[in-house]
């Protein structure tokens, strides 16, 4: 025992003497130069990825995540989550330095939030990834990608976040669920098989030429398939929010207050039961549904891209639309599948 400690101490002393560094950095030995594109791109991007720590408390809440530096002034983009609390949120940079973060307003439609650290306290200059490239085509199915993030809080202090490798599996616009609750997110998602685990979210998805294409979401369930998906928000969708809070350029987007829509469809449903398939019970005369030609006993299958497998899903999907919008309806009558466009009206109530 004693001998082992002595040997270890001696080895450490030698290591310290050789590297001339303190104990904390003794194991951050110089790495070899990158040989491949994957290695090179990870090397280049790692200094822009930070670890984010926040308020903990509940066992089910991970008090860690990842962020991406988006400005030299100290803006850090991360995923909005419970642990992000005022005066409790810390950002750990590539070099291991810890910085208290100020909270900027979140972007609820994307579920992201900007943090701000003081650049004067940073040793050297921040290396922002900005702006996310908006060159088209941004990504395509089957493209190789690298995902960076602090999965399972494996990286502490100056340890580097984890890199995972995979392909772009595809693009999805699907209804989403997180644990047992619905997620309000309307845009496209990039699906990938580069592993996305707790903590990896808030990190980024990059092509092998170093383009930032996606911002890792937390693990969500896709309602279309009822599977957990590894997904990222396309980074170009973040541009308006980043522009507003980093560059002060407010894009004139009026917050649209969604009014409930009216279709004139009455589904066959009994209260208190699990929601049955969306069979039409009645159609109000001179309503959008009547103009479409829906009839009692038709089974509604899909609204635009969204599957409708129950009466509840019919209502949930309809809530995504606004009066005046046209929705493509797919329904089954007898042994035929029919489709048509329905112009939604405003709910009179």
């Amino acid at each position: 025992m004693t001998r082992r400690v002595l040997v270890a101490a001696a080895m450490l002393a030698v290591a310290a003497a050789l590297t001339g560094q303190d104990f904390g950095k003794a194991y951050s030995f110089p790495e070899r130069k990158p040989h491949s594109r994957v290695e090179a791109v990870i090397d280049k991007l790692l200094p822009s990825i930070v670890k984010v720590h926040g308020a903990s408390g509940l066992r089910t809440i991970e008090a860690y995540g990842t962020g991406i530096i988006v400005s030299k002034q100290g803006h850090v983009l991360t995923l909005e989550q419970v642990m992000i609390q005022k005066d409790r949120t810390r950002v750990v940079l590539y070099d291991g330095s810890v910085h208290m973060a100020e909270l900027l307003p979140e972007e609820p439609s994307l579920g992201v939030r900007l943090l701000k650290i003081d650049p004067k306290e940073v040793d050297g200059e921040l290396q922002p990834l900005w702006p996310p490239t908006d060159a088209a085509p941004l990504y395509r199915t089957g493209q190789f990608v690298v995902s960076l993030g602090n999965c399972f809080r494996l990286a502490e202090f100056s340890e580097k976040v984890s890199a995972t490798f995979g392909v772009v599996v595809g693009r999805a616009n699907t209804a989403l669920r997180y644990r047992m609750s619905d997620v309000k997110y309307d845009g496209d998602l990039i699906l990938t098989d580069a592993c996305n685990n707790p903590g990896q979210y808030g990190g980024g998805l990059f092509t092998l030429d170093g383009r930032w294409i996606g911002f890792n979401c937390r693990l969500l369930d896709a309602k279309e398939t009822n599977t957990t998906i590894s997904a990222a928000i396309p980074s170009r969708d973040l541009l308006p929010y980043l522009d507003e809070w980093v560059n002060g350029k407010v894009t004139a987007v009026q917050a649209v207050v969604k009014k409930p829509v009216y279709t004139g469809v009455h589904l066959f449903e009994q209260p208190g039961r699990s929601s049955p398939p969306a069979y039409v019970d009645q159609v109000t005369a001179d309503s959008p549904a009547a103009r479409l030609g829906l009839r009692p006993d038709d089974l509604i299958l899909r609204l635009d891209e969204f599957s409708v497998r129950s009466c509840k899903e019919f209502r949930d999907v309809l809530a995504r639309f606004a009066p005046g919008q046209t929705v493509k309806v797919l329904w089954k009558r007898g042994n035929e599948v029919l489709d048509g466009a329905m112009i939604l009206a405003a709910d009179r109530q």
Binding site: G170, N226, P277, K332
Partner: protein, 399 residues
Amino acid sequence: MRTLVRQCWPLLVMTLTTALRAQQADPDEFVALEPVLRAALQKAAPFTVTIETVGGARRVLKESDGANDGQGDTPPKPTPPPQTPPQPAPDDGKDKKKPQLQLQQPGFHQNQGRTTGVVLTADGWILVSRFALNFDPSTITVTLADGRTLPAVRKGEDTSRGIALVKIAATGLTPAEFVPPPDVKVGQWAFALGRTFGVDEPTVHIGIVSAVRRQFGRALQIDAYTSPANYGGPVVDVLGRVLGIAVPLSPAGRDAGVEWYDSGIGFAATIADIPELIDRMQHGEVLHRGWLGVTSETKYLGPGAKLMAVPATGVAAKAGLHKGDIIQEIDGVPVANSFHLQMLVSSHMGGDAIALKVRQASDDAPVDMTVILADTPFEERQQKKDAELPPSFPLPEKK
């Protein structure tokens, strides 16, 4: 300059050698796979279709409830006459002890989602995963690559491969090209395609063939992620030819075997080698793995397999097998031991006739006999009931 070259020549040589060596082993070589993958994707896109289901029995049982769907003691069925749907099992009274059905929160709502299918023929036969029809949905639709959605009729299935057939009224479809299993090699690229998120292009997961001839010669194992999002979808090679149909088949779990989704252990049922089974499925037959129904002595190390138990009602007893008999050959293949017997029998389908050479306990001269295999009973297909895995749900059989 000359002096410089003279002084530095060892360095120059070294740099050149390093450059050459780097050229020989290019770590970026794999990037060339990307266009290959794109081409395979485009080749496979026209025959990769979306399957959607609505309705059906939503029964979710706990394992402890003995959820055998009343099919546990299906008596062995004699040779099913081809082109006739199998008869429902007669009620043998065991069903009366009905287990208390207890609803529980499932890990995910199985089958209540989109899955994928593959166009088998130009005239509207579509291969799907049995998983898609898990709860006997009242409505099945197929959305083709061109965006048309058509109602589908459920036809036959093969429970041993986890595949099923549905038929749509369409012509002029682009059918898939299937690779014969002998042409598949472990280590070759395997791309698992799905079409579930309703966009123009199929989704893709990449991997390699991990093993061949799994599930007694019925499936390939792949490490590309498979999940309900791409079950039923094609697993294609670099040329976009179909190696197999992605299916949940984990042998450790229950029939559906979905516990292993996205785990890197995926299965692709092979198709090119079973034209006669496809034909039977097109006639609505439900096919199962073959079942001899005997127990062999594992302590008897061979040659041959010594029978420990031969149930009196089974096909083996009817054919004249007894306890203590030693099966020496099946279809002319010498049986090495009891595991070999299992392999030889299980590679057959129910209803297949197999020729046995048996040394009967009472006699020294081997006897030839023919056994028509039964279908593997439902609870046997579920395998380990207390597997250390989250519970999945029994598949109601098509009646």
